[in-house]
């Protein structure tokens, strides 16, 4: 555990090697990336095993000395960090392996692996940071990795736009995080998590300030985790290659917001208002994104909205004091959502389209992808015995026992939506008749299917580390020594959750599987609702009209000032000097006689003055 700092350095090494020798290595770059992330994974597992028995390990070294102020860097291995290390390095390793098949033949193959290494380094560095400043540095690095990978197909206009959008939207959140961080430092004199929590516990920080800083830090998490109202970048981020969507926009980076709230949990716990904000934003996001997911037709966009929705669930759990529930769902979601994305990538790889209207009947053709996708779908829908069931159950219990009845019912409806749109997706892609234009559909290579199988197994069994039936190992371990508490809930909640998910599946089956119900049931009966959902509540349009146009108007005004005022003034000065120079140059004609005349006239003038003034100037 003493050498846990090595874990992020392996992917960094991979990044550096590929930066220097990527051109020579060509597709062999994949092996560099895969081997080095495997090293990270092995080490992470060792660290987790060590942390399961041992205590929290933390070490720091001085970085900067500014007056009395000592800034430190270091790393910490507590329960949350150790768990995150394993999740991140595992998903990263699987995505590295998967990309070998998926990105095969791409011109910038080594660059892709280089970026993946950079991102993995940043993400692993983020989760072992012991202080806010270091977290913030890696937080931004992660954003950079995400930006580079979304814009990987930079020759596509939409990918460029999406990369910029992701960067700017998350940056809005980051400003909140930065302000919150600085305020906390101002109040407590330290960036260290432990010192901040100690100060908060000792009551050194006023209640208003706690609420304010917690909400500001939460704004950072909102940006990163694609929560309402800063969620619009995440669906657009699907322009990146699909393995990237699996790694960054499903399993790891977007979970960083949830991780941050979890890591700062004692601060949030100290403020009822902040907790309520987190819970409300989470629940609203969960149902809001799920309702959009109901009608989207792009396979990756449906998954993107479901990610937003599931992240909302995690926020709801944290806001309802369900620390274990939030972290638990983060873990299970990382597995089944990465699985779904990789399976979606496999489908896209096979049929070369993302439009689910054009797919169908792929169950018989994709013998491995189909069942694996089904496992992921079952897990996310919260069907009993799959991992998502247990974690979602925990969240609902947290929301209920915390007294957020309204938010609880919102979450239940969102769960119904989730089951419906996920199975709608499944039936539209895999059931029904095969389309004629899909003749040469074949299963993906083993480098792609093997990671999916690993994730498929995890999507089933990951839930059993924390169940109400066999024991809550994960929960007990996570709250050990930090007193976050663990909640037990009534049994009927589990039944309700199961019931709504089964109802959702049944409805999807009737509409898209058996087709006994009209498919356009919603769109024909409620055209306005359908249109609103299909256009994502017009949020993008709203931002376009308000912020983008507003900014454009301001910039137009400033441009006006620039062109006419600043540049005009400049032009006058330039013209003046130039005219002076030009007339001066004209005087210098080379005509000696003109010079002589000038000298003579000057002399005559001087003498005239002398004559008038009697020999004195002035």
């Amino acid at each position: 555990m003493e050498n846990a700092w090595l874990i992020p350095l392996f992917p960094l090494l991979s990044f550096l090697i590929l930066l220097l020798f990527g051109r020579q290595l060509k597709e062999a770059s994949a092996y560099v990336g895969i081997l080095l992330t495997l090293a990270s994974l092995v080490y992470s597992v060792i660290v987790l095993a060590g942390r399961l028995q041992g205590p929290t390990f933390k070490t720091e070294a001085g970085w900067l000395q500014i007056g009395d102020l000592q800034l430190t860097v270091g790393f910490e291995v507590n329960q949350l960090n150790a768990l995150m290390l394993v999740i991140v390095s595992l998903v990263s390793f699987l995505v590295h392996t998967y990309s070998k098949g998926y990105m095969h033949g791409d011109e910038r193959f080594p660059v892709f692996y280089g970026y993946l290494g950079l991102f993995t380094f940043a993400m692993l560095g983020l989760v072992i940071s012991p202080n806010l400043l270091q977290t913030y540095i890696f937080w931004e690095l992660v954003g950079l990795g995400s930006f580079l990978l979304i814009g990987f197909y930079f020759y596509k206009e939409s990918a460029k736009q999406a990369a910029k959008k992701a960067f700017i939207m998350t940056r809005i959140g980051d400003v909140g995080l930065l302000i919150g961080m600085v305020l906390l430092f101002w109040q407590t004199g330290s960036f260290e998590y432990d010192d901040i929590f100690a100060a908060v516990e000792a009551g050194e920080v006023s209640g208003t300030m706690i609420t304010l800083t917690a909400i500001l830090i939460f704004i950072g998490a909102v940006g990163k985790s694609g929560q309402f109202p800063l969620h619009t970048w995440l669906p657009d981020a699907m322009e990146g290659p699909t393995p990237v969507s699996a790694l960054i926009h499903a399993a790891t980076m977007v979970a960083a917001g949830v991780y941050l709230v979890a890591a700062m949990f004692p601060l949030f716990e100290a403020s009822e208002t902040a907790m309520m904000t987190v819970a409300v934003i989470g629940a609203v996001t969960a149902i809001f994104a799920a309702s959009i997911g109901l009608v989207q037709t792009d396979i990756k966009r449906v998954l993107a909205y479901s990610t937003v929705s599931q992240l909302g669930y995690m926020m709801l759990a944290l806001g309802s004091a369900g620390y274990v529930a939030g972290v638990f769902h983060l873990m299970t979601h990382a597995f089944f959502k990465a699985l779904l994305f990789l399976a979606a990538g496999s489908v896209i790889h096979a049929v070369h389209t993302q439009d689910i209207e054009k797919m169908g009947g792929l169950w018989k053709k994709l013998r491995l992808t189909g069942p694996l996708f089904l496992i992921g779908t079952l897990a996310i829908s919260g069907v009993p015995l799959f991992s998502g069931f247990f974690s979602k159950d925990e969240i609902l219990i947290s929301a209920w026992t915390h007294g957020n009845t309204f938010l609880f019912w919102l979450a239940v409806i969102a769960a119904f939506f989730t089951a419906f749109y996920m199975f709608r997706l499944f039936f539209m892609v895999f059931a029904g008749e095969a389309r004629s234009q899909m003749k040469n559909v074949h299963e993906s290579p083993v480098t792609m299917t093997a990671p999916m199988m690993v994730l498929g197994i995890l999507a089933i069994v990951a839930g059993y580390v924390n169940t109400p039936w066999f024991g809550t190992f994960l929960g007990d371990w996570l709250v050990e020594g930090n007193g976050h508490g663990h909640t037990e809930g009534p049994v009927w909640i589990m039944l309700v959750a199961t019931l709504v998910s089964l109802l959702g599946i049944l409805l999807a089956y009737l509409m898209y599987g058996r087709r006994t119900m009209e498919r356009d049931w919603l769109s024909s009966r409620l055209p306005i609702t359908y249109s609103i959902l299909y256009n994502k509540y017009f949020i993008d349009e709203f931002y376009e009209r308000s912020f983008v146009y507003g900014a454009k108007a301001v910039s137009l005004f400033l441009r006006f000032i620039e062109v006419f005022l600043v540049e005009g003034l400049l032009k006058v000065v330039v013209g003046l000097v130039q005219g002076l120079g030009r007339s001066g140059a004209r005087v210098q004609s080379g005509q000696t006689q003109t010079y002589g005349m000038a000298a003579f006239l000057g002399l005559a003038f001087l003498m005239l003055i002398f004559a008038i003034t009697g020999g004195y100037f002035g």
């Binding site: 004609s589 080379g590 000696t592 006689q593 002589g596 003579f600």
Partner: protein
Amino acid sequence: MTGVPVSAYLALALILFCIGLYGALTKRNTIIVLISIELMLNAVNINLVTFSKFGMNPSITGQVFAVFVIAVAAAEVAVGIAILLSLYRNRKTVNIDEMDQLKH
């Protein structure tokens, strides 16, 4: 000699100088310009000689100065004519307004 006042000498010098100046500033032919410069120098010589005779401290110094000026003027004209000749060989002209290369 006493019948001629100082002002007459000075007036002569002034007239000579003005003629020289006018010629130097207006004539196109460089030879004429050089001659005009000689006129101006000689106007100065007259002044020098006048003041060496009628000045506040009459002495031979003024006349010596005039001799120097004549010698230097001769040398200057020799150089001037030499430059003018080579210019004429290159440019086929003696017009002063066409000789403006030195501004470049």
